[in-house]
């Protein structure tokens, strides 16, 4: 992939989107039989599946916390998910992504309800595109709801990038690779509103004002994704009802 001369032509991005437009998103709930909760998401060309197990007994025992549940999060890329085969197993990038994603969920899971146990969140990137960590968090959030895990609210994640000096929502690969900045967010959504920031990273160059603008753009995108997450969860019950009506 080479750097495009221009990222925005006549107000439109390389894939035809407007700066504040998301890539197409598809969400399916309860896709894995064995897991306590699961979700499959496509976000652009990302194809991601999340499974939640637990709360279950924590092993090895020394990881148990007598006062609350331990949350584990594993972001993993399949070797075939990228252009050039990725060596299996965790690399530094996925360890960091797993850490900050885990912490985002720890902030919303009601951990004190299940002392000594563990909630495992496994997310597999089957096909990677820009923003795979955001797709993974969106899938994990739905899978946690599907597993019946008590939470303050749901997490919804989206990134904002800066290209040609313009802030763009949910960056595609070119914008991610060659843009001037990339800023992934995850928000706690409660009572139908964005309430706080659960995950925040940034690299690139932005002014304080641009950071505020990026936040607002991300909030707009997150609300759209949140509605899709909700819809996907509710759909399973509607279908069940119709079948037997």
């Amino acid at each position: 992939m080479s750097r495009p001369d221009k990222f925005i032509i006549d107000g439109k991005r390389l894939d035809g989107r407007l700066p504040d437009q998301l890539r197409p998103i598809k969400i399916e709930v309860d896709v894995l039989k064995r897991a306590d909760g699961s979700c499959y998401i496509e976000m652009g060309k990302n194809k991601v599946v999340a499974a939640v197990y637990g709360p279950r007994e924590a092993f090895p025992r020394h990881i148990q916390d007598p006062s609350k549940v331990v949350v584990r999060y594993r972001y993993n890329m399949a070797p075939f998910s990228v252009e050039e085969r990725k060596r299996p197993g965790p690399d530094r990038r996925s360890i960091e992504i797993s850490k900050v994603s885990k912490e985002a969920f720890e902030a919303v899971i009601m951990k004190e309800l299940f002392p000594r146990s563990v909630v495992d969140i496994f997310v597999e990137v089957l096909q990677a595109d820009a923003g795979s960590r955001t797709a993974c968090i969106n899938a994990a959030s739905v899978a946690l709801v599907d597993a019946g895990i008590p939470m303050k609210g749901m997490l919804t994640s989206v990134a904002v990038a800066k290209v040609d000096g313009v802030l763009v929502l949910d960056p595609m690969k070119e914008e991610d690779n060659f843009g001037e900045a990339d800023m992934p967010f995850a928000f706690l959504i409660r009572g139908g509103k964005i309430e706080s920031v659960a995950l925040l990273q940034m690299d690139g160059r932005m002014t304080r004002t641009e950071i505020k603008e990026a936040l607002n753009l991300a909030k707009k995108g997150a609300m759209e994704i949140y509605n899709l997450q909700r819809e996907a969860i509710m759909k399973q019950f509607v279908e069940g009802g119709e079948e037997n009506a």
Binding site: V100, E103, M202, D203, M206, T207, R208
Partner: protein, 263 residues
Amino acid sequence: MPEDILVDIKKDYVLSKLRDNERIDGRKFDEFRKVEIKTGIIEKAEGSALVKLGNTQVLVGIKMQPGEPFPDTPDKGIIIVNAELVPLASPTFEPGPPDEISIELARVVDRGIRESEAVDLSKLCIEAGKNVWMVFVDIHALDDDGNLLDASAIASIAALMNTKVPASRFGLGGDFELPINDVPISVTSLVVGDKFLVDPSRDELSIGNTTLTVTVDRDDNIVAMQKSGDYLLSESLLDQIVEASIRVSRKIRENLLSQVSKC
């Protein structure tokens, strides 16, 4: 990792002080600890810096060697940041491969250097597509009294500013100073409810590792951010921390430049 019990005991004290809007060491909420920098202390390294941030101590050494460039940047040098939290620095550090904490630390420091384009990598090309200079930034934590990240970031840029490219050793002409374009400064704040404490000490971190790091370049641009820890951050606090970080970063940079003779 078992917590240090003495640190744990400090928690109540830190919180009770906070209720009176005070920090246990008497600092203002946006005040860094004293920064002391010594450069060039490891002769075997191409560059080095020992940074004391209060009682936190970090040593950074720079090693360089020629190597193959990345395919997507054939005419640019390579910079690699690595951190080791060795057991000597804290009772909670354990030997073994880098854990998520040291990996996160190295990657956040790396982003600050990379995104501010602190090192002019285009001047580190030996033969395009074949041979470029590789810069290894190795962060060695010696004493963790809190906020290893900022101490590491300061030590890294100070060490880079102190670095001589060892060209003669590899028969590639005369040695030259590593070209430096910017001095990124990372500012980490501990978030406690609706307050934040800049440059938290180990005792203050007993409340929880709930931090936000904001790295600022010399033009007041934000070049890296990292929220770390299981907490929720309000939008207004985010903006306050960004504002404070920009302000604090200017002072630290000035201080750093006055101590590192070059530049």
